[in-house]
């Protein structure tokens, strides 16, 4: 039935997208990955617990898995839009690499986006501030020590 589907207008990484056959209950995560092909945003817990699906909405990190796509207004930034187009790394990404915070990598797009918002608000962050500020991102490889080092170092730049 036609009325089972809805149309969406989303602003993602500076590009306006129109989706005209979305399910009304579809999440932002689902639209990003399966309709727009932006698979850098990871699908994991789907209950807003793990942070793998973190994107920025007007600069603030949110869980795209518990955001209704129909209810998203504003500019969405995914890891594809955050990372420099020439393939280089941002200072935050360099700091995470230097700290050795890359194992399986599945949590990293969410970690990087949440971390970018965190360091913007917390210059020269303490370890405790990093622990609290990054509590919305789980790493099942448990690379938390190097995450704290990387985010802390990046907050100094």
């Amino acid at each position: 039935m036609d009325d089972e589907r809805i149309s969406l207008n989303l602003q993602v990484n500076g590009t306006a997208y129109h989706v005209d056959d979305a399910w009304y209950f579809e999440t932002l995560l689902s639209v990003l990955r399966y309709r727009l092909g932006l698979t850098g945003t990871k699908q994991s817990c789907e209950t807003g617990s793990c942070g793998a699906c973190t994107v920025l909405l007007d600069g603030r990190p949110i869980n795209s898995c518990v955001a209704l796509a129909a209810d998203v207004q504003g500019n969405v930034t995914t890891i594809e839009g955050y990372s420099p187009a020439d393939g280089s790394l941002t200072p935050l990404q360099e700091a995470l690499v230097a700290a050795g915070d890359v194992q399986c990598g599945y949590c990293l797009p969410g970690m990087v986006l949440a971390g970018s918002a965190f360091i913007a608000d917390h210059p020269n962050a303490t370890d405790d501030e990093v622990r609290e500020g990054m509590c919305g991102n789980l790493c099942r490889c448990t690379a938390y020590g190097s995450l704290i080092t990387g985010i802390r170092e990046a907050s100094k730049r």
């Binding site: 209950f25 789907e46 807003g48 942070g51 518990v66 207004q73 609290e132 919305g136």
Partner: protein
Amino acid sequence: MTTAVAHTPRVLRPTTIKEATGALAVHPGARVVGGGTLVVAERSRGIDGPASYLLLSGIVDLSGVSRDGGGVRIGAQTTLRDLLDAEVSPLLDVALRSLATPQIRNRATVGGNIADRRPAHTLSPCFLALDAAVESAGAGGTRRRSMREFVSEGLAGGEIVVSVILPERSGFQRYTRVAPRNGPGYAIASVAVSIDPTARSVRTGLGGVGDSALAAPAADDFLTAAIDWDAQTTTDAAAAEYGRLLAEASNPVTDDRSTATYRRHAVTVMGRRLVEAWTEEQHHG
């Protein structure tokens, strides 16, 4: 094909409170969405999703924190992040930092946290302790109730939360909880209290120990009488008795997170320690 049943659009997007309550009167099955963090997560967990959503995000009148004299009005659509940033109360500051994650707080709303009175949710005990009022709207208009009334009655069918109003309140304000860890996750039990030396009043809110957040009027009255307000002090025995009265006000269940016995014990200890912390703050703080 025609049908007698009103067709409910899959997504309702009211732009005014009147439109929202009007739509809910016609489409009572629509699920109200504040930020969506709870509603969408439940659908993902396999709990039946609703046939349609009513989004509150388009209603400008529901947003924002405003100060009115000494009081504060918090619109239902204010995100938990914006409430934290507004720094309206030391009690709320701690409670909000312990509430879920930055990602959730950027999306979840104040109205959504209190609307269906879930006992594990953080804000209702805090608003009880702050002696708040709740403004709600339905097809019949807008009404204002005390938080105490709201936690026992809840919303009527077709109603939405419009705002939470905090009166001016001074003095000690504290939130504490027992939870598996300091990080994200629901509390097993929580206690929020404010001890206002100007009004000479004690207000307590309990979380996780009943069907909804609970007030503890007998404990409040006891401590109010047991405090020497001129000297700003009370006795160890009064602190312990206040804790015991909090347990008496509780009606906890045993579930997958904890037992009724443990929850009762937890509020007893938290209550006593909160009064001790107040005493400490008056004389060494």
